[in-house]
Amino acid sequence: MDLMAVTLHVNGSANRVEADSDIPLLWVLRDQLGLTGTKYSCGIGICGSCMVLLDGMPVKACRITAAACAGKKITTIEGLAEQADHPLLKTWLELQVPQCGYCQSGQIIMAYALLSEKHDPSADEIDQAMSQILCRCGTYPRIRQAIQQASEMIRAKDLS
C-alpha cells in the first residue's frame, strides 16, 4: 500500500493527511481526523451508518477512498449539526427520533440530502432514500414523521 498526502475539505476546514491510497474515507475521518460521528457498522455499503455528504451528494464513507475525495467538499454530521435551526434537526429533536442513536448520523445525512434535492418528496421517494439506512432500534416510524414535518416547514418557508 502506498502512502500519499491528501487534502480533505471537511466541514469547512482543510485537513492534510497521510493516507493509504485505498483507505476508505470512513477510517480517515474516524481514526485520523477524530470525527467519530460517522459510524462503522457493516463496512460493505449496506447499512448506511457512515453516510456523509460529498459535494452535497450522499455517499457511504466505507465505499469511497479518501483519495477520491481530495478537493471535494465533505460534510459529516458534526458539520451538518452546525445548522441547528435546520427543520430536520428541529423535528428530529421534537419527535425524539433516536433510541441508541448509533445510526442516526446516517439517517439525518440521508434525510438532509433528500430534502435538499426535493422539498416535497413523495412517500415512495422517502421510502427509496431512507431504506438505504438501517436502524436496529426501529426508529423508522418517527423518521418518516420527522421528514414529513420538516418538509412541511421547508415548504411553508418557500411560500413565505
Binding site: 493509504d20 462503522y40 449539526a81 448509533y102 431504506s131 432500534c137
Partner: protein, 699 residues
C-alpha cells in the same frame, strides 16, 4: 439491588470508588486515559446525584443506556422527588461501585428495580435541601416548599435556589425515612419529557465505546474459529507482520489477533489471514440436524414445567385432537455498534471502556482474564488495578450481557502493555454472536364437542432453552402438561430481546389459534373467554376495539396474540391486506400495552414500536443457519434486518394504570410473530410451522 440506605450518603467521598484506586496505588493516570474524576464542590448526598454550586444536577445512572431510555426514565424518578428543574439535569453512567448493587441491565428491569430506590434517593436529598433552605430563610421547615430547584417560604414568597444551598445542605443530617409522593402529585412521571441523551445523538458528539480514543492507542481485531470451539493449528503470521501499518499478529486461545495503526489496516490484514483451524464442537452439525443429534446424544429426560388436571394419557379418545410441530431458528442480535472494547494501560493498571450491559460482569471478566496471566496476584489485587468505564452502547438487545470482547481486549492490552482498541468487524459479530436458540415445539391439544379446549400438551426441545413464557399458560384449559428438554449447546446461546418468551409465546399463541379454528371458534373470542389474567384480557379487548376485529373480510384479515412478560401485558393485532387473489401485504400493526404506571409515555411508545419492528424482522427475514458447524451468514446482506420501506404503520396504545411499573424494552416482542402467523393461518388455512414466514404462498 440493595435497599436504599441513607447511611451511605457520603459514600462518594469515602469509598474506594474505582477512580479511587489511583489513590490506593499512589499513581495518577496521565493524559486522556484519566477519566474525568469529579472534584468540583457540590452537594452529593448519595451515589445517585450531585448538585453543584451553579445548580446543575448530575445524575449517575447505573443501568446501561443502549437506546431503551434508562438515562431519562430513571432520572425522572430521582428528579420527581428532588423537585429540580428538568432543564438543569444532566446524566452520565455511574461508575462501577458496590453502592449500586449488581450493575447489569437486562430483563426489562431498569425501572422496576429502581422504582422505589431512586425516588427515595431524590426525596432524601430534597429533605436535606429543604432543611437548609428553611434555615437560610429563617423560616419553619413546615412552611417551606421545594419546587423547580428552589426552596420557597410560602407565606412570604421568599425563596432561595438550590445552587445557593449546596454547602448548607451537605451539613444537614439525612432523614431516616422519607414519604414518597402520591401519583396524583407527580409532576414529571407520566409526562413525555425530553430525553437527556438526545442532543448529542443528533450532532455526532455522543460517545459510544467504539469512539474511545486514547493517546498512542493502537487498533486490534480478531479472527475466531468459524467452527465453534476450533483452535488455531497454524497461520501466516510472518506474511501478515510484513504488511504496511501492522504492528503485531499473534494467537490467543480465542483466535488470531492482528494489531495495527488503524482499524482499516487491522481489518485488511484479518482478511489476508490464512488460518488452518482444527477441531471444534460443532463440526458435523447443521440447523436441520442439530436438535435430533443432540437429543440422541443426551441422557437427559424432559422435565415437567407445568401440570394441571389429569395426566394426559388417561384422557379419553372421544375428544377431537390436533397436533403440530414448530421449529424456530437461531437469530442474531445485529447490534448496530459491533463488539468492541478499549483498554488503557499505564503502570500495571487497566482502564477498560466496555460498551457492556453489565459493568459488574465486565469487571469479573477482566479480573479472570488477568488472573490467568498474572496468577501471582489475588483477585482483589487485580480488581484494584482495573477500572470499568461504561460509554454509550450502540444497541444491546441482550448481546452485551456477554463479555467475550472484554476478555479479549484485556488479554491483548496485557500482552502489548499499551492502550489498544479491539473492534470486531461485522462478519465476526455475525459469526460469533450468542444466538437466540434454535427450538422445536411439539404441541397437541384436544377439544370437547362444543369446541372448547380440554387438553394442552407442549414439549419444548431447545438449545439451552428456558421455560419462561411457557411456565404459566394463561388459559383456563383443564388438562395441561408442559415439558422441556433443555439441550446443552455447542453453539453459543445468549439472551435475545425477550429471551425465551419469544419462542415460547410463538408456540402457545399460534397453536391456540390452530385449536380455536379446529373447534370452529373465533380465536379472539375464545381468548377473551379463557384468559385467566384480567389485565391480558383487558389489553386484548382494547386491541379488538381499536382494530374493529369483527369487521374482517376477504380483503382485510387480522391475527391476534397476547403475552405477559417482564411484568407487563401486551396484545398485538396484525392486519393483512389482500391486494389480489395471490398477493397479501402487511397493513397496520396495533399494540396495546399495560405496563402499570407509565413513567415516560414517549419512551414506552418508542420501545413498543421498536419491539414490533425487531420481532417483525425475525419473523420475515432469513435467520442464522448453522452449516457444517459454522454460521453461514456474514453481514447485513445475508442477515438482513427490517428496512424503512418494509415497516408498516404501527399504533401503540398505552393502557395506563397506577399499578407498579412493568418492563417495556422486551414485552412488545413476543406477541408479534404469532399474531402475524395467526393472520396467515386465517388467510391461507395452514399453520406457520417454520420461520421465516412468507406472506404469500406456503411457508
Amino acid at each position: 439491588m440493595k435497599p436504599f440506605d441513607p447511611e451511605r450518603r457520603d459514600f462518594l467521598k469515602k469509598s474506594a470508588l474505582s477512580a479511587g484506586s489511583a489513590l490506593v496505588l499512589g499513581i495518577a493516570w496521565s493524559g486522556e486515559i484519566a477519566a474525568a474524576t469529579d472534584t468540583t464542590p457540590g452537594f452529593k448526598p448519595n451515589a445517585w446525584l450531585k448538585i453543584d454550586t451553579d445548580g446543575l444536577v448530575t445524575l449517575y445512572i447505573a443501568e446501561s443506556e443502549m437506546g431503551q431510555g434508562p438515562f431519562t426514565s430513571l432520572s425522572m424518578l430521582i428528579a420527581e422527588e428532588l423537585e429540580v428543574d428538568w432543564q438543569k439535569v444532566q446524566v452520565e453512567h455511574a461508575p462501577l461501585d458496590p453502592a449500586y448493587g449488581f450493575q447489569g441491565t437486562g430483563g426489562s428491569r431498569s425501572v422496576r428495580r429502581n422504582w422505589k430506590t431512586l425516588r427515595e434517593a431524590g426525596a432524601v436529598a430534597r429533605q436535606m435541601i429543604l432543611a437548609a433552605g428553611a434555615e437560610y430563610l429563617k423560616a419553619p421547615i413546615e412552611s417551606c416548599q421545594a419546587q423547580l430547584s428552589r426552596i420557597t417560604h410560602r407565606p412570604s414568597s421568599k425563596s432561595v435556589s438550590y445552587a445557593e444551598l449546596v454547602g448548607r445542605a451537605a451539613e444537614m443530617p439525612a432523614p431516616k425515612g422519607v414519604a414518597l409522593k402520591q401519583p396524583e402529585d407527580f409532576r414529571l412521571i407520566g409526562t413525555p419529557v425530553t430525553r437527556l441523551d438526545l442532543a448529542d445523538k443528533l450532532n455526532g458528539k455522543a460517545r459510544y465505546g467504539i469512539d474511545t480514543k486514547l493517546p498512542n492507542m493502537v487498533y486490534a481485531t480478531i479472527a475466531q474459529s468459524p467452527v465453534f470451539g476450533g483452535r488455531v493449528k497454524s497461520f501466516n503470521d510472518s506474511e501478515i507482520k510484513q504488511r504496511s501499518g501492522i504492528i503485531d499478529c499473534f494467537e490467543l486461545e480465542e483466535g488470531v489477533v492482528v494489531v495495527a495503526q488503524g482499524t482499516w489496516h487491522a481489518f485488511q490484514a484479518r482478511k489476508a489471514l490464512k488460518i488452518d483451524w482444527q477441531g471444534g464442537k460443532t463440526a458435523q452439525l447443521n440447523s436441520d440436524n442439530i436438535i435430533q443429534r443432540l437429543s440422541d446424544e443426551t441422557s437427559q429426560k424432559a422435565s415437567l414445567i407445568l401440570q394441571r388436571g389429569e395426566p394426559i394419557a388417561q384422557l379419553g379418545s372421544a375428544l377431537k385432537s390436533i397436533n403440530s410441530e414448530y421449529r424456530l431458528p437461531f437469530q442474531a442480535h445485529m447490534t448496530p455498534e459491533p463488539m468492541n472494547c478499549t483498554v488503557g494501560v499505564e503502570n500495571g493498571r487497566y482502564r477498560v471502556w466496555a460498551p457492556t450491559q453489565s459493568p459488574t460482569s465486565a469487571m469479573a471478566t477482566a479480573v479472570k482474564a488477568l488472573k490467568a496471566l498474572m496468577p501471582e496476584f489475588s483477585e482483589a489485587e487485580l480488581e484494584a488495578r482495573i477500572e470499568i468505564v461504561t460509554p454509550l452502547l450502540g444497541g444491546g438487545f441482550g448481546r452485551r450481557i456477554k463479555q467475550d470482547y472484554v476478555t479479549q481486549a484485556v488479554k491483548i492490552a496485557h500482552r502489548l502493555q499499551r492502550s489498544v482498541q479491539l473492534i470486531w468487524p461485522r462478519e465476526e459479530d455475525v459469526q460469533h454472536d450468542h444466538y437466540h436458540p434454535l427450538t422445536q415445539h411439539r404441541l397437541s391439544g384436544s377439544l370437547d364437542q362444543a369446541g372448547n379446549p380440554q387438553v394442552w400438551h407442549h414439549l419444548i426441545t431447545g438449545l439451552q432453552s428456558s421455560k419462561y413464557g411457557a411456565d404459566t399458560l394463561p388459559y383456563d384449559i383443564p388438562h395441561v402438561r408442559v415439558e422441556m428438554l433443555r439441550l446443552d449447546s455447542p453453539v453459543p446461546i445468549g439472551p435475545w430481546r425477550s429471551v425465551s418468551n419469544h419462542y415460547n409465546a410463538y408456540a402457545i399463541e399460534h397453536f391456540f389459534d390452530e385449536l380455536a379454528r379446529a373447534g370452529g371458534q373465533n380465536p379472539l373470542e375464545l381468548r377473551l373467554k379463557l384468559l385467566t389474567e384480567s389485565r391480558l384480557n383487558a389489553v386484548l379487548q382494547r386491541a379488538a376495539e381499536a382494530t374493529a376485529w369483527h369487521q374482517q373480510d376477504q380483503q382485510r384479515i387480522l391475527g391476534c396474540a397476547v403475552h405477559s412478560s417482564f411484568g407487563s401485558h401486551v396484545a398485538e393485532i396484525v392486519e393483512l391486506i389482500r391486494l389480489d387473489e395471490h398477493k397479501l401485504k402487511l397493513g397496520k400493526i396495533t399494540c396495546v400495552v399495560d405496563c402499570g404506571i407509565a413513567i415516560n409515555p414517549d419512551t414506552i411508545r418508542a420501545q413498543l414500536e421498536g419491539s414490533v419492528i425487531y420481532a417483525l424482522g425475525a419473523a420475515l427475514k432469513p435467520p442464522i443457519r448453522l452449516n457444517n458447524g459454522r454460521v453461514e451468514q456474514h453481514n447485513f446482506h445475508d442477515t438482513p434486518i427490517l428496512s424503512f420501506k418494509e415497516t408498516p404503520p404501527i399504533e401503540v396504545i398505552i393502557s395506563n394504570s397506577r399499578l407498579d411499573p412493568g418492563g417495556v424494552g422486551e414485552p412488545g416482542v413476543p406477541p408479534l410473530a404469532p399474531a402475524l402467523a395467526n393472520a396467515l393461518l386465517s388467510a391461507h388455512g395452514t399453520p406457520v410451522t417454520r420461520l421465516p414466514m412468507k406472506l404469500n404462498g406456503a411457508s
